[in-house]
Subunit: 383 residues, 2 copies
């Protein structure tokens, strides 16, 4: 193997030892090494860390792999998978969970989700991309009864790294399974599903939201229906809005396998329906709003969409609960709360804050990578 | 009844209609009406609200009672108790909970906690003080199987209102009961207990903290042991620190009725023990820090105490969890997080944020009374 080397300053060395795992092109020596090369970072003549380089992505130019001099990818991954597994075991996450959460598990750029015996990988690290078979082997060696390993390395974050989208089975053949949560069953279809097939980050929130559901409940941006279905015993009328056709198909199956036969499913754009319902002066007791990341493309436009959708949702509630989420990393919790508060007050409505919600315990946030914290939500009683 | 009247501006009238329930002496017309008088607030010649006045407390000079012209204390309390009850029922709080949380339940200054058949009142509203028997009757009429009503109107907030401390049985005779939470039993002694006898605000947090407990766990400022006891199945060694003698007596009983015989209970000042343990280089896997309000008397001194106690706690952890709370209204969540982050970084230690914790769902926060939000906590993995 060609040995590439990059010099780093004492400041950067200290940041690496302090846990920082991603550096921009302005922070370290510029080198035109091939995308995904293994590089040795040195300070003076001293070894600092092994890293991988992506000269095409100035924001994620260097990703730290390990500060151990004696680095071997296979044993490093095995070790990190075991530690990550031990943590999930300890907190009682057993059958489905995010097994690897990027920097938080010292595997920058790598996401590994587990749904029963199906493992889904989502990767943006070009070094892991080149060594995906080693990662596969490590998962098979550490994981128990793994039936399938599915790679779903697609989407905007791949594009930003100049890496081609990759979606394929790496091992096995099963791409669909059933998980259980909150006493309900859910089909996870990793092939047709959004993200890795299921929103693990809302785990605790689903059981909290259930406490507040009653009467006529609207689950907007419902995806395959997790919020509504987990809360279904408490609602008199359950409405789901979902734009994506294949998500709606799974949602309908989920309703069926849970014996819910009185739900209304609208396969349509949530904005249009909210607008229509709003114009028709329809009322709901509970509105659950869990939109996709509205801000990722354009902050200003995203904020406007966020305001619009929440404003319409508030109009649908006479005296009841708005449960509003944002998974946009760029929308801070304080800002989101202030938007909601202002909206409610401008409509001369009153409200109380019942609860602040965050991401699940497997989506832990390592210092200094605070960007790993992104999910926030509020349970508001509005009247 | 003498009819007292106070004029308010349009601005204040709008604030009242917007939900503000407490006004300072600078916001309304000054009047030397007797403490706890019922006053009619008018704007121009128009009725705005019924309120009570306390000319001795410039900060809580006026407390709104009702914006209904036709006001009757008994029926108003009965109505508000029923609404408050309905909410607690809905979220599944059945046998012990905060039944009335001051402004959030439109009973400014009044706290009503329920522990099985024992009701505890803590009041700082001088009008309710004068009419405590009407409140007692309303509680007996709305509550189911109430055996005891205990008034515990004591402490600094009473002093600030220039109201004498009152601690007495208003109805019945039983002052001790057993509640169940998280599969464990706890004695609540409303006579000897701190606050109203049990910290209801940590309800959800106790079940979250349990997920992270393992190995050698220290429950500092443990009061009657709720965090440690609920988590006891997961700890190998359980240490409790509590200064108050009567709390320790109840703690020891709580350990006994839950069959926990290997816990270490130190009836002592937590600061001294943490300092000693720190000096002896003792290590724990989990440290739970739930100190009393350190900032209420003196902000600067309180912050210093907060920093000191958290700093010592961090030193006790080699690789494990710090679960740190603050119930100080003056210490904001961001500030608390920044203190903890700085402490850990200055010690050249590393950490990850696992979870942000808040007060229980019966401690809801009505707009604009954001001061009702006070409890915050963090689960941090430190190594």
């Amino acid at each position: 193997m060609t040995e590439y080397e990059i010099k780093v300053s004492k400041r950067i060395r200290n940041k690496i030892f302090g846990g920082k795992q991603v550096f921009t092109i302005n922070e370290v020596q510029k080198r035109e090494y091939p995308v995904g090369s293994l590089v040795k970072l040195v300070c003076g003549n001293k070894f600092v860390a092994w890293a991988t380089i992506n000269p095409k992505n100035p924001k994620h130019y260097i990703r730290i792999l390990s500060t151990e001099k004696d680095y071997d990818l296979y044993s490093d991954i095995v070790n990190k998978l075991k530690i990550a597994q031990r943590y999930r075991d300890k907190i009682g996450y057993s059958r489905h969970y995010r097994w690897v959460y990027s920097e938080s598990d010292f595997l920058s750029g790598l996401i590994v989700d587990k749904f029963e015996n199906i493992i889904v990988i989502q990767n943006t690290n070009p070094y892991f991309d080149k060594n995906i078979n080693i990662i596969k082997e490590a998962i098979l060696d550490v994981g128990k009864n793994v039936e399938t390993i599915y790679e779903k390395s697609v989407g905007k974050n791949r594009e930003k790294e100049w890496l081609p989208p990759k979606e394929r089975i790496l091992y096995g053949s099963k791409t669909r399974t059933t998980i259980k949560e909150g006493g309900k069953k859910f089909i996870v279809d990793v092939k047709s599903g959004q993200k890795t097939g299921w929103f693990l980050d809302q785990r605790e929130n689903r059981s909290i939201v259930k406490k507040f559901v009653y009467g006529k409940t609207l689950d907007a941006f419902s995806y395959t229906g997790s919020f509504g279905i987990i809360s279904s015993d408490k609602a008199d009328e359950l409405w789901f809005l979902e734009k994506n056709r294949s998500s709606v198909e799974v949602l309908i199956e989920n309703l069926k396998i849970n014996g819910i036969d009185n739900a209304k499913v609208l396969n349509t754009n949530a904005y249009l329906v909210l607008k229509k319902f709003s114009a028709e002066n329809r009322k709901f007791d509970v509105v659950i709003l869990d939109p996709p990341d509205l801000l990722s493309e354009n902050y200003k436009k995203g904020i406007r969409s966020f305001i619009l959708v929440n404003s319409m949702a508030i109009d649908l509630i006479k005296d009841g609960y708005l449960i509003s989420f944002s998974c946009s990393q760029d929308l801070k919790e304080d800002k989101m709360f202030s938007i909601l508060r202002t909206l409610i007050r401008r409509k001369s409505r009153r409200f109380e804050l019942i609860s602040r919600l965050h991401q699940a315990f497997d989506h832990k946030v390592i210092f200094p990578h605070k960007e790993l914290e992104y999910l926030k939500g509020f349970v508001l009683h509005i009247w």
